[in-house]
């Protein structure tokens, strides 16, 4: 329904008249509660997808996939209505709901069966879909369960007591998962919320993390900047690996890096820009002309043309992700070592070529400074891994020579002396926020003269408001929003020595103020209204929120350490625990 009110599918449960709505997640979980305040009472809707330990899954029958919705009247009386209309295949499939009595409403979509069960009689509507209305008094509740099956016999979970059990198990499962984090910094709530969002965007069987679960939510209302983000971008690899390892979610981090290596194995040494969750490379992009689009933003796209672009930054991303994997104490097998060696050789042979860059420009290729940086990162990390004895038989001299040539190229042509900044493209005169990543990748120091000047210039030209940064100067003419991730790159830069600790904290507080009521971010933020723009929620934004929080904690740790050595007695351990991230050996 987001992309087309008439053709899109939806499932709503709400009072017939609402005065106020409050949403929140149950603490450290992905169980969403929505409180409806009406003139006659208050109702609480709880939405969740059941989660349980492997032991629990072995002990009882579970549907392949299930969405559970429980609505309870907390005060007075509330008139509720539910409307369900599944519109598969982007509204093109001709399917009909079928009432199977006690077995619920069914809709067959080829090999897939959707089953909707509820405590109230859902009436099938002649125009499609089903609806129900019910009056609840204080203390009364009703349950709904939508299950998805590809295998017969389908599991049709009963409602009532079992739903209560599932809710308790799910809350417990998520809280146990969230409590694995080793990060105890002052922004723990935001970092854990971001990790929870990332977990929902990961495909458990492969470990892949999609950029966003949506397609074509517009980056400019009414415009054509509408893309399909339901894919996994290698561009996100290094920062995602750092975020997951940094928070202590080692299983997810290892699964993600393993997926990255598995997916890239199929196309090596050439890398695709994006893959699907199974590791397949699919770049075909089509337009759904029958959809009106969100706020009339057309076209609605399925697939992403960026998949066939040539981008050099992905080599640095993959190698850096592997470096994080190795730093966590893991070993590389011989096959992976060979693959990394091939990536390095590919970079040596191709780093000088024009390409599409981090922002996937659709015009002719250019020499993007950020891509040069990531080529430098690829070779630098491979040399580092070789020196640590983690990767063998690499052509060290060739890698060293190319790495130094790349640095010389960036410093000579990526720096604009008139502008006092690194630029978007070599020899150019426009700015790009991605150069703020240079310290994060160990290319240069955030407190260096060039980085300080570049940061000042970027803030001057790309920041429309405190906590916000455009990704590039062209954003202004494209009328797109500020990029959520860039605001956190700014924080990361400051925390790494680009500013004081107080500056960093303030920037972080300003950036997180643009989250929605649930602590979630889209890809972009409208600088004027503060509204979210683009696909939602956006993994990249949340990844960098986590990394900025980790950098802040590391900065605090350094400052604690400096103060304690210089003049202060060491802070009591219990006090320090509130600030410092724990480190895993």
């Amino acid at each position: 329904v987001l992309l087309d009110r008439e053709l899109g599918g939806s499932w709503s449960i709400s009072p017939t008249a609402t005065r106020r709505i409050e949403r929140r997640y149950i603490d450290r979980t992905n169980v969403l509660t929505t409180q409806f305040h009406t003139a006659t009472g208050v109702a609480l809707l709880t939405d969740f997808m059941p989660a349980a330990s492997e032991k629990e899954k072995r002990a009882r029958i579970w549907p392949e996939h299930e969405l559970v919705r429980r609505v309870k009247c907390e005060e007075g009386e509330v008139d509720l209505q539910s409307y369900f209309n599944s519109r598969p295949d982007y509204g093109r499939a001709r399917t009909a709901l079928c009432d199977r009595g006690k077995l619920g409403l069914r809709i067959e979509l080829g090999p897939v069966l959707l089953t909707l069960q509820s405590d109230v009689g859902m009436v099938i509507l002649p125009q499609g879909g089903a609806s129900a209305t019910v009056k609840l008094s204080a203390g009364e509740s009703i349950d709904f369960s939508l299950s998805y099956s590809t295998e017969g016999p389908a599991v049709l979970p009963p409602l009532g007591e079992l739903i209560s059990d599932k809710l308790a198990l799910t809350v417990d499962w998520w809280q146990r998962w969230a409590d694995q984090t080793t990060y105890k910094g002052e922004f723990q709530d935001q970092a854990v919320r971001s990790a929870l969002a990332l977990k929902l965007m990961s495909y458990a069987p492969s470990g892949a993390v999609v950029a966003a679960p949506t397609t074509s939510l517009p980056e400019r209302l009414g415009g054509d900047l509408n893309w399909d983000y339901r894919y996994c971008w290698l561009r996100d690899a290094a920062l995602t690996a750092r975020a997951l390892f940094g928070l202590g979610f080692d299983d997810e981090a290892c699964a993600f890096v393993s997926w990255t290596l598995h997916a890239t194995r199929l196309t090596r040494p050439k890398l695709q820009v994006l893959y699907d969750v199974y590791g397949r490379s699919r770049g075909q992009e089509t337009e759904l002309s029958h959809f009106r689009g969100y706020a009339d933003s057309r076209p609605v796209r399925v697939g992403n043309h960026a998949g066939v672009q040539f981008q050099l930054d992905v080599y640095g991303e993959v190698v850096e992700a592997v470096a994080h994997f190795v730093r966590s104490g893991r070993e590389l097998d011989r096959e992976t070592q060979r693959m990394l060696r091939h990536f390095g050789e590919y970079v040596c042979s191709n780093w000088h070529k024009p390409e599409s860059g981090i922002w996937e420009s659709r015009g002719p290729g250019q020499h993007y400074t950020h891509s040069r940086l990531m080529c430098w990162v690829a070779l630098d990390r491979l040399i580092e891994l070789h020196r640590q004895g983690r990767i063998h038989r690499i052509p060290v001299e060739r890698f060293l020579q190319s790495r130094d040539q790349i640095r010389a190229d960036i410093e000579a042509r990526g720096w604009n002396a008139d502008l006092h900044s690194y630029t978007q493209v070599l020899g150019g005169n426009t700015l790009d926020a991605s150069v703020l990543l240079m310290p994060a990748h160990g290319y240069n120091d955030a407190s260096s003269e060039r980085m300080q000047l570049a940061h000042a210039r970027i803030r001057e030209r790309l920041s429309p408001a405190p906590g916000l940064l455009y990704r590039k100067e062209q954003s202004l003419t494209m009328r797109e929003g500020a990029f959520g991730i860039c605001g956190f790159w700014d924080v990361d830069f400051l925390a790494r020595g680009g500013g004081t600790l107080e500056h960093s904290r303030r920037a972080f507080t300003q950036a997180i103020a643009y989250a929605n009521d649930l602590g979630l971010f889209a890809e972009e933020i409208d600088p004027e209204s503060g509204e979210a723009l683009g696909n939602f929620p956006q993994a990249f934004t949340h990844v960098e929120l986590i990394n900025a929080a980790l950098s802040l904690a590391e900065r605090e740790e350094r400052e604690w350490s400096n103060h304690s050595h210089a003049q202060w007695p060491r802070a009591p351990e219990r006090e320090r625990e509130h600030i410092l991230p724990e480190r895993r050996v």
Partner: protein
């Protein structure tokens, strides 16, 4: 009775029948997973159920092939078309009698009249197993026709 021939061709025909039903599921003709359906009689664990279900299905296949072989002996002839005809009768019996009766035999299968319970959550197959997909009967009939045809064609009467 040619025991060696029965063991061999009973096994081969069961393998082919299993392949056809599993292939039909993979191609989207039916959702029915025989291994899951049979395995959940013994365990609620999805993965373990499929493993157990495959074993049970093979034992069933062998046992049913014994009935086919017994019929060949009674008729004193074994041909592919006689086997296929027996397979057709077998398939129709499974679809019209055994499947609708399954909820009363399967400990985890729900009943259409009372709906799912905490213990009984599996969707019943319904008449001709149509609840598992409109083309389920087609796949079951084809699988049993081939099952019988292989037995009839290759089982050698002593």
């Amino acid at each position: 009775m040619n025991w060696g021939s029965w063991l061999l061709w009973g096994f081969v025909s069961t393998v082919v029948l299993t392949l056809i039903i599993a292939g039909s599921q993979g191609l989207g003709m039916t959702r029915m997973s025989m291994s899951y359906l049979l395995g959940t009689i013994f365990t609620p664990n999805r993965d373990r159920a499929k493993l157990i279900g495959i074993l049970v299905h093979f034992v069933n296949g062998w046992l049913f092939s014994l009935i086919y072989v017994a019929a060949f002996h009674v008729w004193e002839m074994a041909t592919w078309w006689l086997g296929a005809l027996t397979g057709l009768v077998h398939a129709l019996f499974v679809l019209t009698v055994a499947m609708p009766a399954l909820p009363s035999m399967h400990p985890r299968m729900a009943n259409e009249q009372y709906g799912p319970t905490v213990v009984r959550q599996l969707e019943p197959p319904g008449f001709m197993a149509l609840h598992y997909g409109i083309q389920t009967p087609v796949s079951v009939v084809i699988a049993h026709l081939v099952f019988g045809a292989i037995l009839g064609a290759f089982y050698s009467l002593p």
